[in-house]
């Protein structure tokens, strides 16, 4: 898992802009909804006082057609215009249109009432569409979850305010004056938007995605995967259900109240429903959105409609219809609206605009028309009220079913966004093709020695040294000859063995020494070796001496073996190097290997590792564990350990549990262990991780676990240990975040020491977050937490928010909440830590953090602080 090179931008500015946008959204929606509520009250009162409710389906039909036409025009000509300008234009058109209708309504006629009805619905649909498109440009998903509840609360307050104003107006003025009031409120809303634009011309959308980032095929994905259709379907089912509920409600009202009583009742009912909606929106909706998520919040309205639809069957008359209408009214424009708007956020700007328009046109107005037609058709055939009640229940159930499926698709859409923003795709490296051996063999004849050596090494690594022609041992380039010796030293062909031996007479001392070190001891006769014992080059002399001893030891000479043991301790570097290279030819050689593994000369240690790699035995295990401390010797050491298999696995696991072992060795045990193919390595690593006290080793354990997990994603790990592992990392991250917040607030940031200490703690926090995601990957390797981590630390705030949204949907609620709180713009992690406590604790920390904190304290000379222990977690972070 990589650390993201794109460091996140500071969040404070973004937070301030979001707060401004949120406030503006609240006021504008409040005014617009108040205007709509007044207009709606006037419309309903005038319509129902003068015309029969049976004409309602016809106006619904006209309204649906108009909105569909407006949507088409919008997509065709207006979609690319600035949202703000579009919203202001619509609000002004609303104000002007209402003014005209107010004048005309002085002499109400049937056609005018129809126009008023259609105008009210169409205007509201278009204004709200533009408003939410503008809002979606200003908030990423986390901002939306935090702010949409407040903004929709503005809408609910506005609706209640509008209903209250309507009630008040009606006590002094005739009904038509409500239209004038509505016009004034639309005008006020337009002024607010314009004023906000004038005050902050530089405000730009914080989450606008560059459309070039998305391709046409990605834009079509929503349609293809059914996400858009599901949203439209949900909106349509709920709209038709609401149309049926509305019809029932108004029919009952017409039967129960006279014309003069209708307007006051409607206004009072509107106030009641909106107050209920407001209470729900302020007290419950934010909690629901943040705690149970968007998907589950969407189920509330269909669930409530289903229950109240069933309830209205038991409660006939106005009460039952009011229950149904009240459920819809109190939830639709608050919680449901906010949750639905969030559903559009994983889509690209263009895709969002298009789908939202069609949701408004098809899912709302066309669906309303369909519901109306259904009512019209049913009128002469059945009891319409009963049919509406039954239809409402069925459609609520359909909406509930659709909303259940949206949760997963919503998360998947965000995943797609994150992948598009951070990755190329997940194409894995293809499997090797054996046909290209010919390419390598061809490369052996290259004029470039580097290429020849590369081909040699590759063939050797593949165990195809038989394809290396022995003539390369006669190559004029010493580099190629040395490479050939390296690859062919274990080759069984007699002519190859003989040629390697003959290289002991080569002009290059390096080649002579290599021949004496690597050719099989049995190929040499004493008289061949003897002249080399007095060679001018020390490496050649040393190799010849060791060769003599190894041959004698091989024939059973205990004295030669003792000499080799002695020389491994006190021989010259060339001698020790030669012993190391021939270690597997010496029996027994465990003790010699142990001695050489602690040699001060690194080249000896490296040669020993390479030597053991040629034929590792169990007696070399101790030396191999020791060699892990050496960076240069480590690759060969690991190969040798892997070749030893099970015995090495057991030895390494045992070594890892020895807390007193050299930390430099312990540090490299986890990454060695994770290379073993046995899945039980995962259990060993996890078990050690939860009990490990050394934070550096613990970090390596976690990395090793991730790597092993990739190899064995299906292996079942102890769930309790996994939980403990994730929990521990989450605690560390939370404490690091709190400590950093305390430090940022409590120390003078212009001070150099404070700057460095803060920066260091920020680095620690960044690493703590990485550890959380590594632990989550171990917990659930199939969820691609690697990509999510990349997204979460990306420069693009909308990508960060999208990643956070996915994470919180994937992990248990408690973990999700904690990550969300620690990652937010203003971490809400409970009571803030006292900076004095933090500094005191940091001063006691080991390593550079402690050194920094002590230096800081010495320089700053802060007032004497009462030492007070924080929690163990902070100490852990500090380590």
């Amino acid at each position: 898992m990589s650390s993201n090179p794109n460091q996140p931008v500071p969040l404070e500015a973004t937070g301030a802009r979001r707060r401004d946008s949120s406030r503006m959204g609240f006021v504008v929606l409040m005014l617009a909804m108040a205007a709509h509520a007044m207009l709606e009250t006037a419309r309903d009162a005038l319509f129902l006082s003068n015309l029969s409710a049976e004409r309602l389906p016809i106006v619904y039909l006209v309204m649906g057609g108009l909105v569909v036409a407006a949507s088409y025009l919008h997509e065709r000509w207006f979609a690319r215009l600035p949202r703000r300008a579009m919203l202001v234009s619509l609000l002004l058109i609303g104000a002007a249109g209402n003014g005209a209708l107010w004048l005309l309504a002085a002499a109400p006629r049937a056609w005018l009432l129809g126009v008023l009805y259609v105008w009210t619905g169409t205007l509201a649909t278009l204004v709200l569409l533009q408003f939410w498109l503008l809002a979606s440009e200003r908030f990423d998903v986390q901002g939306a979850k935090r702010n949409y509840s407040q903004i929709t609360a503005g809408g609910v307050i506005g609706a209640a305010l509008g209903a209250g104003l309507a009630r008040l107006t009606l006590t002094h003025f005739p009904t038509r004056h409500l239209i004038l009031g509505s016009a004034m409120l639309f005008l006020a809303a337009a002024m607010v938007v314009l004023r906000a634009a004038g005050r902050r011309p530089s405000v730009t959308a914080v989450s606008v995605r560059d459309p070039s980032k998305r391709t046409d095929s990605e834009d079509e994905q929503a349609a293809k995967d059914g996400y858009a259709w599901r949203i439209i379907g949900l909106a349509a089912a709920l709209t038709i259900a609401a149309t049926f509920a509305d019809y029932q409600f108004k029919s009952q009202l017409q039967q129960a109240y006279s014309g003069a009583e209708l307007a006051p009742f409607l206004a009072s009912f509107g106030v009641g429903v909106n107050l209920l909606a407001l209470a729900f929106q302020l007290l419950i909706a934010p909690l629901l959105l943040r705690k149970v998520g968007v998907g589950r919040s969407l189920r509330v309205l269909p669930g409530a409609l289903l229950c109240s639809g069933l309830g209205s069957a038991l409660l006939p008359g106005v009460a039952g219809a009011a229950l149904l209408k009240g459920s819809d009214g109190s939830l639709r424009h608050g919680l449901h609206q906010a949750a639905t708007e969030i559903l559009f956020l994983p889509l690209s700007d263009a895709e969002r605009g298009r789908i939202k328009t069609w949701v408004a046109a098809v899912g709302r107005r066309a669906a309303q028309a369909v519901g109306s037609v259904a009512l019209l058709v049913a009128m002469p055939l059945v009891d319409v009220e009963l049919a509406a009640r039954v239809g409402c229940v069925i459609l609520s159930a359909v909406a509930l079913w659709l909303s259940v499926g949206l949760q997963r698709e919503y998360v998947e859409r965000f995943r797609a966004c994150i992948r598009a923003g951070t990755l190329w795709g997940s194409t894995e490296a293809p499997l090797p093709d054996r046909n290209a051996i010919a390419t390598l063999v061809q490369a052996l004849d290259s004029k470039d020695p580097g290429e020849t050596v590369a081909a040699l090494d590759m063939l050797g690594d593949l165990g195809r040294s038989e394809l290396v022609p022995p003539r390369l041992l006669r190559d004029p380039r010493p580099r190629v000859v040395l490479g050939a010796i390296r690859v062919l030293r274990r080759d069984p062909r007699p002519d190859v063995r003989e040629r390697i031996r003959r290289l002991a007479e080569h002009d290059s001392a390096e080649v002579r020494a290599a021949s004496l070190r690597h050719a099989r001891a049995t190929r040499f006769q004493t008289q061949i070796i003897k002249p080399h014992l007095s060679d001018s080059h020390a490496d050649v002399r040393g190799a010849a001496r060791v060769l003599t001893l190894v041959r004698r030891a091989g024939r059973g000479s205990a004295r030669a073996l003792r000499s080799l043991e002695h020389l491994s301790r006190s021989g010259g570097p060339a001698v020790r190097l030669a012993i190391a290279a021939r270690i597997t030819e010496i029996h027994p050689s465990g003790e010699i290997a142990q001695t050489l593994s602690r040699d001060d000369d690194r080249s000896v240690r490296v040669a020993l590792a390479e030597g053991i790699r040629q034929g590792p035995r169990a007696e070399h295990l101790e030396a191999l564990v020791q060699l892990l401390a050496d960076r240069k010797a480590r690759p060969s050491t690991r190969s040798a350990l892997l070749e030893l298999g099970g015995e090495a696995h057991v030895a390494l696991t045992r070594a890892m549990r020895m807390q007193g072992l050299d930390p430099q060795i312990r540090l490299h045990l986890p990454r060695t262990l994770c290379r073993f193919p046995d899945p039980s390595v995962l259990d060993d690593l996890l078990d050690q991780l939860v009990r490990e006290r050394d934070s550096a080793v613990s970090y390596k354990l976690l990395r090793a676990l991730c790597s092993a997990r990739n190899q064995h994603p299906e292996h079942a790990l102890d769930p309790d240990l996994l939980q403990t592992c994730v929990r521990r990392e989450l605690d560390s991250f939370r404490m690091a975040t709190r400590a950093l917040a305390a430090l940022r607030q409590g120390v003078e940031t212009s001070d150099l020491a404070a700057q460095q200490l803060t920066k260091l703690l920020a680095e620690q926090r960044e690493r703590a977050l990485l550890r959380v995601f590594r632990a989550l990957h171990v917990w659930e390797p199939t969820e691609d937490f690697e990509t999510l981590y990349e997204g979460l630390t990306h420069r693009d705030p909308s990508l960060r928010a999208a990643s956070l949204e996915v994470v919180t949907n994937l992990v248990p609620a408690e973990w999700g909440e904690e990550i969300e709180q620690s990652m937010g713009e203003e971490p809400a992690l409970g009571e803030a830590l006292d900076v004095g406590q933090v500094l005191e604790e940091l001063r006691r920390a080991p390593g550079v953090l402690g050194a920094f904190a002590r230096e800081f304290a010495r320089r700053a000379s802060p007032p004497q602080l009462e030492p007070s222990p924080i929690s163990e977690e902070l100490a852990h972070v500090a380590e």
């Binding site: 580097g450 960076r631 260091l760």
Partner: protein, 281 residues
């Protein structure tokens, strides 16, 4: 454009060979190279075919395995075993690119996040890349790096040491914790006028705190000069001697500790690769 899974002749071996022939990776052993090759993916371009990325593009290294490729935006041509964009491509910038295949081209691509994962598994790859870059920088004639910090005398606490080290962009990329660790280990050495300082091959590097030194080529080093670091990075093993032209003070560091710390935090190594690559531009 196709990827190697659709063309079997571009395989792991070819990829390994191409990587091995790339100077910064030439010193890798075959097993590591195979691992690196497995993290790479192959792209094939037909003659005249274009490979374009918009800004910000995913960060990746592209190595030409065969054929000839032209960078249409920058006017450069890359052939077999050359890194597209030259050594400074190691800076892994998310720049816009427009490449055109002049003949049939096989490319190896290594995404930066895969490099990051690879460095954790195979530190020697990172080591090899840094060494390769170090050599290129030395070949270009840069031997000493001037730190941006003011000359420091008197007490040199941890804070000042970190400030000193972090004033070099290359070192700053390592992060405060590594710098603090290196800073804590720094040893101050006073050299009288006319005295000499010997740095052990690739094992040591130093910062001149005050005074002035001259190297074997009679180049004068002034205060806050970082010397020996590029040699340590490039593993130039010859010992180097410096003469003090005036009473001088240096802070010397062990290169092995630098490598150890980098191995503990390989992700920082990628940052260092990026910063170093910018110096090659």
């Amino acid at each position: 454009m196709s990827q190697s899974d659709s063309n079997p002749s571009a395989d792991l071996l070819e990829r390994s060979l191409a990587l091995k022939a790339f100077p910064p990776l030439a010193s890798l052993d075959e097993r590591v190279l195979a691992s690196l090759a497995q993290h790479a993916r192959t792209r094939r371009l037909a003659p005249g075919e274009r490979l374009t990325t918009t800004h910000p593009a995913p960060r990746a290294l592209r190595l030409v395995v065969s054929g000839e490729l032209r960078d249409e935006l920058r006017g450069a041509t890359f052939t077999k075993h050359q890194l597209v964009g030259g050594p400074h491509a190691l800076a892994l910038r998310a720049d816009k690119t427009r490449l055109r295949a002049e003949s049939e081209v096989v490319l190896l691509e290594l995404e930066d996040r895969k490099l990051d994962a690879l460095f954790e598994d195979e530190f020697s790859v990172l080591e090899a890349m840094l060494r390769g870059l170090g050599r290129v920088i030395l070949q270009q004639g840069t031997v000493y790096l001037d730190l941006a910090a003011e000359p420091t005398v008197g007490t040199l606490g941890l804070i000042e040491r970190v400030q000193l080290l972090s004033s070099c962009p290359e070192l700053a990329s390592l992060g405060i914790d590594i710098l603090a660790d290196l800073g804590l280990e720094g040893e101050r050495i006073r050299i009288p006028r006319g005295g000499s300082l010997r740095l052990q091959g690739a094992e040591q590097y130093a910062i001149l705190l005050q005074g002035s030194l001259t190297d074997a080529a009679e180049t004068t080093l002034g205060p806050t000069c970082l010397f020996g670091w590029l040699e340590a990075l490039a593993e130039v093993t010859d010992p180097r001697r410096y003469l003090a032209r005036s009473p001088s003070e240096v802070m010397s560091f062990e290169a092995e500790r630098f490598w150890d710390r980098l191995e503990d935090y390989p992700e920082r190594g990628l940052r260092l690769v990026r910063v170093l690559a910018r110096r090659v531009e």
